[in-house]
């Protein structure tokens, strides 16, 4: 196995392993994905961070933005979202209560990581219409 393939397969541990949390995706056609496409005996898991760092464009200072970021292994997805599509995702917000999930929209352009086999989503908090 070459190094790039090794890095991708290591995501099963680094991204989907003990630090990962189970998430549920819903595609634009309403079809849900709960299991991993790599192994349907396993739940779809990924890295869920409830905030992330950005740079304040006016001052250049780093700021922590309270917006969740979800990183998934591309090969675990049944289908890769296309820019412009609206997907939904349920993520756990408490590390000790992963059964309770909150809904977020995925509508922003996707962020790369394709070389390393990952895909990153910035989640949009959603209120009742």
């Amino acid at each position: 196995m070459d190094l790039r393939s090794l890095v991708e397969s290591d995501l099963a541990d680094t991204l989907e392993g003990d630090f990962g949390l189970s998430v549920e995706l819903v595609k634009p056609d309403g079809d849900k994905q709960i299991q991993s496409a790599n192994d349907t005996d396993l739940l779809l898991r990924g890295q869920v961070l409830l905030d992330h760092a950005e740079e304040n464009l006016e001052t250049g200072a780093p700021v922590i933005v309270p917006r969740p970021v979800l990183t998934l292994r591309r090969s675990s997805l049944e289908r890769i979202p296309v820019d412009g599509e609206i997907w939904g995702v349920w993520i756990p917000e408490e590390p000790n209560d992963t059964a309770t999930k909150t809904f977020y929209l995925l509508s922003d352009p996707l962020e790369g990581g394709r070389s390393l086999g990952i895909i990153r989503f910035y989640l949009s908090e959603t209120v009742q219409s």
């Binding site: 634009p28 056609d29 309403g30 849900k32 939904g88 929209l105 509508s107 989640l123 908090e125 009742q128």
Partner: protein
């Protein structure tokens, strides 16, 4: 100066519109920069404040009245999150068709904020440019009341929220009179009394000071 009364009258009229229409709240001064949660939902705001005054030399004399062309800034701020039918999306029993319909009907945050700002501006314009508000309820005439444009900012991402601002200028003109410094009111201890000499009155005339 009259512009202060005009400023207060505009604030009052907009405040009444805010209560009647419920689409915004009024901030009658130029506020500091606000974070997204401070302007989200019902906290969307309309700032109105006196920004500029022009006094054309040809519009008055050195002793007054002075022609005052006023510009009031109106700044609208709306912040929104994405919207969707969560009763369907968070229901484990929803079918694929229901989920698809709910996703298709979802509104992204930029769309929601844009719509909110359009509604706010419509309400603000209708209030300020109402024919009954030619003088904003004041008891002196106001001239050249006009709003000549409105401009929206680009949507700004603030975490999960999107914030959009809009700005306009309300112009009007008034004649200002400078009344000068008013004298100090006399207290009882400083009263001056004057005795008038009237025919037949033998008492001495003069001015005495005292209470």
């Amino acid at each position: 100066m009259n512009f202060i009364e005009i400023r207060d009258a505009i604030r009052t009229k907009l405040g009444e519109a805010a209560v009647a229409r419920g689409s915004f709240r009024v901030i009658g001064f130029q506020e500091r920069k606000k974070s997204a949660p401070e302007t989200a939902g019902a906290l969307r705001s309309v700032e109105v404040f006196f920004q500029r005054g022009d006094f054309p030399k040809t519009g008055g004399s050195p002793s007054g009245p002075f022609r005052h062309k006023m510009t009031f800034s109106i700044i609208l701020t709306a912040t929104a999150a994405a919207k969707a039918d969560l009763t369907v999306l968070q229901n484990p029993g929803s079918t694929a068709e229901q989920l698809a319909a709910a996703l298709a009907a979802a509104k992204v945050a930029a769309n929601e904020a844009d719509d909110i700002l359009d509604t706010m501006w419509s309400d603000v314009f209708e209030s300020l440019m109402d024919a009954r508000n030619l003088d904003f309820g004041l008891d002196f005439p106001l001239q050249d009341r006009w709003i000549d444009d409105f401009q929206k900012s680009d949507p700004a991402e603030r975490g999960s929220f999107v914030m959009i601002t809009g700005s306009a200028s309300l112009q009007c003109a008034i004649d200002e009179d400078v009344e000068g410094e008013s004298g100090t009111a006399a207290s009882s201890g400083d009263a001056l009394t004057t005795d008038l000499k009237i025919d037949g009155d033998t008492a001495p005339a003069g001015i005495t000071a005292g209470g």
